[in-house]
Every structure is written in C-alpha cells, then in structure tokens.
C-alpha cells in the first residue's frame, strides 16, 4: 500500500513535468504575443523593451527553466492582465467564487442525486423512476451552458425572480449553483440507480430475504454498502465535469472565477496565468484520480492496489 502511494505520487510528478513542458511549448506556439495589440500598435522598440522586461526574448528552454525554478518556490510570476498583483494573489481571489459555487453545487446536487437514484431503484417503474431517468438523461447530455441559458431565460428573463448574472450578494448565487448542481445530480441519480439495481439482483440479497431479514435492514446494512463502490468511481467523471463546467457557468453568469480567468488568459496570451491555471488543474485532477483509487480500494476488500493479478 505504501509502495503504491509512493509510486502514484511519483507518477503525478512525471505527469506534472510532461504537462508543463507540453503546455509551455504549445502556449508559446500559439500565434500572437501578449503585447501585439491590434487597435493601438505599440512602437516596436517599446514592445521589445517590455518583452525584455518579462524575459520573453530569451530562448524558450531558458524561459522554461526560469519559470519552473520559480514554480518550485511558489513563484508563478505576474499576470500580464493585472500587473498590480502576483499570479498567486489573483488565483487566491479567483478561487473563492469557483469554490463556493461549484462546491455548493456538488454538495447540493450529489446527495439529491443519490436520494433520487435510491428512490428510483426501490420504486422501479414508478413515476419517481421515470423522473429520475429523465433528469439524469437531460443532465448528462445537455451542455452546461444550455442548461444555464434555459435557467436564465425562465427565472431571470420571464419570471424575473432572480438576477441573471454577477457575483457578490448570495441571491446572485442561486442560478449558477443550480446549473452546477445539474451535473452531480444527474450523474449520481443514474449511477446510484444502476448500482442499487445491480446489487438488489445479486443472489446474496435473495438469501438475506429468505433468511427473513427486514427489507429496511437489507437495504441499509447490505445493499447500500455494496452499491457504494460504483458510486465512488463516478466521483471522478463528475469532478471533471464540474471543473470543466465552471468555464461555461462562469462565462454564462459573468462570475469572476477560475474558469473565467482560464478563458481570458488564453484569449489575451497571459502566459504566467495560463501556466499556473493549467498546472493547478493538472495536479488537482491527478490527486482526484489518486484519491478515487484509494477510496475504491478501501471500500472494496477484493481490490489490492498495484497487486499482482489475483487468481
């Protein structure tokens, strides 16, 4: 187990290195630099001076090594788009809306989804079941920005109950949270339902019933525990879905979060910000994978991490 953890952490470091090189090269290969404004062309001499100030005229590998040296010291540089603060300070600010909205979305959506999936599985072919199927199909197929647009049209434009966009007062949070919640709600409703049905059809449940155990005990002591394993594996796609969704939710609701900065950093060739964001996301995803695997192993006694194929 410890060997496995060490191996995984090492592989995260390797991934981090590969992604950072790829990204650095790719980013600089994107046509256009941060300081060639089309509307107000600057004097080439001034551009050269600014470029020199940021070290952009040096060979790429020198820039890369300098950058990585900084990263090792938690120095991610200064964002071109707001030179008054460091990248870290900007990210520290941008984290808040993304974490609050995304976090609340998952905290509300996931339990609701699990509950919906449970009821759907226990009351198969009832109206709850059909509702759960409809919600999970819609939630999993329709892109987030479409959901967001429909939410805005209904609640902000036609009913005029809630503000359509912005950040600040909690009233403005409601619609983006609902938009965020759609993904975990749909994912968990679908997978809880199928995991429960899978377990309920296993012979050991029939044996428990034959033993005369009450249905409540069967569900809570046996079925739920055995259904938890597939539900853990779903955490990962859901997490990725939510993180990706934040780009659209924040663009749609004009929230100044990580997703919004990600888009603007690409548009404005804000290299330091872009690098920092992508590296942070990579580490986050690797850790999410890692934690999901560990949780999976802890829940399932039959899985031995990194072990030899069992006979």
């Amino acid at each position: 187990m410890i060997g496995y953890v060490v191996r995984r952490l090492l592989s995260i470091c390797v991934t981090f290195f590969v992604v950072s090189v790829l990204l650095f090269v790719m980013m600089h290969a994107i046509p256009g630099g941060p300081f060639d404004a089309v509307e107000m062309p600057l004097d080439p001499a001034i551009v050269a001076k600014i470029m020199a100030q940021y070290g952009l005229e040096q060979p790429l590998y020198v820039q890369y090594l300098k950058y990585m040296w900084g990263v090792l010291h938690f120095d991610f540089g200064i964002p071109y788009q707001s030179p008054g603060e460091t990248v870290l300070e900007l990210l520290g600010r941008a984290w808040v809306p993304s974490l609050v909205l995304g976090g609340l979305g998952v905290l509300i959506g996931a339990p609701l989804g699990i509950a919906l999936g449970l009821v759907a599985a226990l009351r198969r072919n009832s109206w709850v079941d059909y509702l759960a199927s409809a919600i999970s199909t819609l939630g999993l197929t329709i892109p987030v920005f479409v959901t967001s647009m429909l939410l805005i049209m209904v609640f902000a434009v036609w009913l005029n109950w809630l503000p359509a966009s912005g950040w600040g007062e909690p009233k403005k949070w409601i619609l983006p949270i609902i938009a965020y919640a759609a993904i975990p709600l749909a994912t968990y409703a679908r997978y809880t339902r199928s995991a429960m049905l899978d377990t309920l059809n296993k012979p050991f449940v029939t044996v428990l019933r034959a033993k005369g155990l009450s249905e409540r005990k069967i569900i809570f002591q046996h079925v739920l525990r055995n259904s938890a394993i597939p539900m853990v594996t779903v955490f990962l796609p859901m997490f990725i879905g939510t993180a990706t969704g934040s780009i659209f939710v924040e663009a749609m609701f004009r929230v100044p979060g990580l997703g919004a900065y990600f888009v603007s950093s690409i548009e404005t060739r804000d290299y330091p910000l872009e690098m920092a964001l992508v590296l942070m996301i990579t580490v986050m995803f690797c850790l999410a994978y890692f934690l999901a695997d560990i949780a999976y192993a802890l829940l399932n006694p039959r899985i031995r991490l990194g072990g030899r194929p069992s006979k």
Binding site: M26, I30, P143, I152, M153, T244, V263, I266, E267
Partner: protein
C-alpha cells in the same frame, strides 16, 4: 469394465434442417432489440428529420444564411414570414438555425468518422498484440484521460485558430480514445477465442486474423463508439464556438449564436431560445439514439 462404451456404439444420424426458420445474421437480433426500444426509435426519427433538414437546407429556407436581407426588420420577433424572427444583423434566424444544423451534424459525423479511423486500428493492435504495444497505447490514452478534453481543446483551438477543420481534428483527437478502448476490449475478449487459434492453426497470418475475424467481430463496439462520438463532437464544437474559439462568423454555429443570444436575451428572447433548443434537441436525440444502438448491439458495452 465400464458401460460408456455401449453408448458410443450409437450411430450418427444425418442431421437435417427440418422446419427451422430462415438463417439469421447475428445482427438481425440487434435490430429487433433496437426496434423494441421506443425512446431510441423516436430519437432516431428526430435525428433523421434534422439530418434531412440539414441536407435540404437550401430548399427549405428563404434566403442564404449570411444575406442581410432584412435589415429593416432587425431583431424582429418570430412571425409568419420569419418563423424564428430576424437576428441583430438583419438575417433570417430560421435560415441560420437550419444551416447551424449543417455545421453541427457535419462536425459530429466527420469527427466521429476520424475517431473510428484512429481508434479502430490502434484498439485492434493494442488488443491483439498486447505487451509493449498495448502498454504504449494505454499510456497515451492515460495522458488523454488526465487532461480534461474541453480545457485542452480550448488551448488547441486557440493554437489552431478555430475553423471547421481544426474543430474536427480536435474532436477526433479526443473522440478516438473511447473507440480505441471499446475495440481493444472486444479484441482482447476475442483474441483467445478458439476460432482465432483455429485460424492460426490453419496458417493464417496476423493481418488476415485481424481483418477477417477480429474487426468484423468488433463491428458492434465500432458502431457504438462512432455514434457516441457524434454528440461529443457536437458539444465540443458548440462549447468552443460559445467561447469564441470555434466556428468563425458568419458561418452559423449554434454555440456561437447562444453566446450572442446572451447579450439580447432580456429583450429579444428568440435569439437565445432557438439556438439553445436546437442544440439541446439534437444532442439529446443523438445520445439517446446511440444509447439505444449500444443496448441493442451489446448491452455489456454499457459503461
């Protein structure tokens, strides 16, 4: 002394067909199952209508998609003459929605086709040869699974500068993984089947086995992978166009129209609602159709 020997004396009668039904290709049963799935058949019908509309676009629309013919009716609401109203540049919005289907569907289908072109041979190789080949292909796939497709696509689209071709390539770049995994799984399951061994015993070279046995037996996962890649590519295109790095105006794309629609939604709802509904319906129909095909062809592919 045992009694089994006496049983063995029984003679082998010539087996006859009798009144068996007509020979059935294994695919026949899949079609029967598909036909029984109402949601999938309905989605298929809706998808067929959308495809027809896209193909017949010039015949069923009043103008071309970029003609600013109705500047005097700028932003007009839906009416008998403009079913979906007029957009902010004086173009018939119904026309633009219909042409948007062309973009969405063609990107979906072409990208899915490319996904199969990349994923099928790689999956077959990984599944058939295993070992180092498989290890290498799986590591490549691992990299693709750590990087969320949309974020990478966003970077790549900024790099390639948007446009039809680069969107298709980006979608295929992420779409092949699923096809590859499906085909690999199928090939691995079949690689050690005895009919493969029998073919080897007859002297068949690896390519003969791959093309004559393994790929025909992978037809189900390939169809499933293809159909599931379509909505993925459509959503990717819409997402990128929504963020402004996809299809360039004036070519109509639903994602792009939704983005413009946000600015007008409080006063000119039609600019926001129609592209949103068009995209939602198309993606939903394609996904349900694909799920239906998957369940009909091979329920074990459900993942």
């Amino acid at each position: 002394m045992t009694q089994d020997t006496s049983v063995i004396q029984a003679s082998a009668p010539l087996e006859t067909v009798g009144d068996l039904p007509a020979p059935r290709n294994p695919m026949y049963y899949a079609w029967r199952r598909f036909g029984a799935n109402k949601a999938a058949v309905t989605s298929g019908a809706i998808l067929a209508i959308i495809v027809l509309m896209a193909i017949l676009a010039p015949l069923i629309t009043p103008t071309s998609y970029e003609e600013q013919k109705f500047l005097t009716d700028n932003l007009a609401f839906p009416s008998a003459s403009h079913w979906f109203g007029v957009d902010e540049l004086g173009r018939d919005f119904y026309t633009r929605i219909v042409y948007g289907a062309r973009i969405s569907l063609s990107i979906g289908f072409v990208a899915a086709a490319f996904s199969v072109v990349i994923g099928l041979p790689l999956g077959a190789l990984a599944g058939f040869y295993g070992g180092a080949t498989d290890w290498f292909i799986m590591r490549v796939i691992e990299i693709f699974s750590v990087v969320p497709p949309l974020l990478a696509a966003l970077l790549l689209a900024a790099l390639a500068g948007g446009g039809f071709g680069s969107i298709v390539l980006i979608a295929a770049l992420f779409g092949w993984v699923q096809v590859c995994l499906l085909v690999r799984g199928q090939v691995m399951a079949f690689r050690n089947r005895e009919f493969i061994r029998a073919s080897q015993a007859l002297g068949a070279p690896p390519l003969f086995i791959i093309f004559r046995h393994l790929i025909p037996n992978s037809i189900s996962p390939v169809i499933v992978g293809f159909v599931q890649a379509i909505p993925m590519a459509m959503m990717l295109e819409a997402g990128l166009s929504f963020l402004g790095v996809g299809i360039e105006p004036p070519t109509p794309s639903w994602g792009q129209m939704i983005n413009i629609g946000i600015s007008f939604m409080f006063f000119y709802w039609h600019l926001a609602v129609f592209p949103t509904l068009a995209l939602a319906i198309t993606v939903l129909a394609t996904t349900l159709f694909g799920d239906g095909l998957r369940d009909a062809l091979d329920p074990t592919l459900k993942g």
